[in-house]
Assembly symmetry: C2
């Protein structure tokens, strides 16, 4: 049967002041009225029923996440005792699924990504499930790049080996870690490099056996951990903080890639909305009421307030009920530094 | 007797979004919890009782202004049918005062200026009243410049002719209209040029006779206008829009100046707060909670919100319950353009 594993552990500090400890990014209604995690679950539920969706999250978010997803059975929520990286998380999810359904094919995705074209997305996932279902191959989704992004890992595709559901499935030549700008420009130009979306599809049993070969200690520990909540709380914090790319994919044979031309964004920082929110003639992106004079390239979320810009360029302006952020667009990845000051000044109410 | 004439007619669009049609600048609590007009009246009331204060304002503001100043008798509020310039306003006020008290000495000041040192201010006003009381001389107050401002008219002082209340009273050599930057720099350097504060003291009867010589038509019309509300409403709008500087002072003999070293600001635009609100080590001025990273020279009023700045310089950020302004500091004088757009887009609720 087909299963989904939704990873909803992130704190999303990069979207401060909209995201907070108590309201991480996946719980924000970024584009529509529903939150990102609700959109993610709703999108995939046309292929996979809520009874076969596993939500992986953290203790401090579990209440809000369960409230946001009432259609998912209580036993399908797994609480990570601490945040680890994607290798422990994906392995934990696969073990749980495999225990319930030894023949499971498992679609794995972060809860907080944006997909504009759900139809194209589902077609790609269907092709991925077809490709992965009998094991023997890791299925990844590569996003055709639209800019020389240095914040993503890249996947270099090889030849198209076959078609599934009408889509070409490519061999993966190699995974490349976040490149410098010059290299990212070459990648963009070549047409052969794709952004690593962090979405995977596996036959769960085959994936676990492959991971066991590559990371025997990790699997050994996790198998002990899943026997009880108590064991999980004890063992999980001791696991290595390691990404699935590093733990398995970069060295794996039999990796294939399906191009994901479905309007994807990982929504890494506020600057992602440059390509998502409606723009005026001077490239000011906003989803609320905006008035501007001699201002261009700004990204504005006034919440319920009118925002007026006068002679300013390339800023991010975000208003929330208790805090306002004004940042240079090329500095928004450093919003963490604001959070550090808030912590230092004991302004916990804003965290 | 000593009288005060407080000019409270301005709309203060330059302080949008804090100032609105229904809440002009003089009604804003800019520095303290009381509004500027309350501060102005309270400051002068140590010399002049509320029963001898005349408030000149406009119909759309009269209710709020009267509410702000319950100590002032109802008959002391004069409504200008339309906004005219300072010559008609000062002459109208002087006629009203002169009618009630033919021996009046009249202190005239805008309602929306800031004075930090009330003690020094009162000392200067006392010297001014002493100088002006018997007529024969126009008393002005010149502010020692602290920057080469191009937004003010200047007064060039001549010799110190005598002392009153321990203060030197200077002859005025000439009035100079708003200078270009280079000239303003020379003015600043010379030590002989002072900002024209728009504060005057006159013997009312003598002032009216001088104005009648210089502007006979204006006085003739105003004398007809003050006989009834009806006449005022009919005649006042026909008067010339002319400043007192242009109508009288620039050509007058017998003008003297008292230096006003009392922490004065006309609060012309948001950038005035650069010198008024507390600053952090990177010259960010704010009267509310501010957190900043790699940001300098900003002026911030977050109202009840925390404002966080990241990598931005020389901005003005103002938040109100329904609107936010983000402007380059050297463009704040153009906030009028925002208001024009709001009108054009029929967003009247923000005016």
């Amino acid at each position: 049967m087909n299963w989904a594993l939704i990873m909803a552990g992130g704190a999303g500090t990069r979207f401060w002041p909209a995201s907070r400890l108590a309201r991480p990014k996946q719980l924000l209604p970024i584009l529509k009225s529903r939150s990102l995690i609700q959109e993610t679950v709703s999108r995939i539920s046309l292929l996979i029923p809520p009874s076969r969706m596993i939500i992986l999250t953290q203790a401090k978010q579990i209440d809000l996440i369960r409230k946001a997803l009432p259609q998912i059975p209580k036993r399908n929520f797994i609480v990570e005792p601490v945040g680890r990286n994607t290798a422990p998380a994906l392995a934990l999810g696969a073990l749980v699924v495999n225990h319930r359904d030894p023949k499971a094919v498992i679609f794995c995705a972060p809860a907080d990504q944006l997909v504009i074209d759900a139809k194209k997305f589902l077609r790609a996932v269907r092709a991925g499930i077809e490709t992965a279902k009998n094991g023997g191959v890791h299925v990844t989704f590569g996003i055709p790049p639209t800019a020389p992004e240095t914040g993503f890992g890249y996947i270099e595709r090889g030849t198209a080996t076959f078609k599934k559901s009408g889509l070409s499935v490519y061999e993966v030549k190699r995974f490349v870690e976040k490149p410098k700008l010059n290299r990212a420009r070459q990648f963009l130009k070549s047409g052969k490099f794709f952004w690593n979306s962090g979405i995977f599809i596996w036959n769960a049993a085959w994936f676990l056996s492959e991971l066991e070969k590559a990371q025997p200690a990790l699997l050994q520990q996790l198998k002990k951990a899943v026997v009880s909540h108590q064991a999980l709380r004890k063992i999980y914090p001791t696991l290595e903080n390691i990404s699935i790319d590093y733990a398995l994919m970069e060295s794996a044979k039999n990796v294939c890639m399906i191009p994901g031309d479905f309007g994807w964004s990982d929504l890494g920082t506020w600057s992602a909305f440059d390509k998502i929110w409606p723009k005026d003639s001077l490239q000011n992106a906003s989803r609320n009421r905006l008035v501007s004079v001699d201002s261009s390239g700004n990204i504005v979320d006034g919440d319920s307030k009118l925002v007026a810009l006068l002679g300013v360029n390339d800023l991010v302006v975000v208003s929330t009920p208790d805090a306002i952020l004004v940042a240079r667009k090329d500095r928004v990845q450093d919003v963490r530094e604001i959070i550090d000051i808030l912590k230092h000044q004991r302004l916990e109410q804003y965290l």
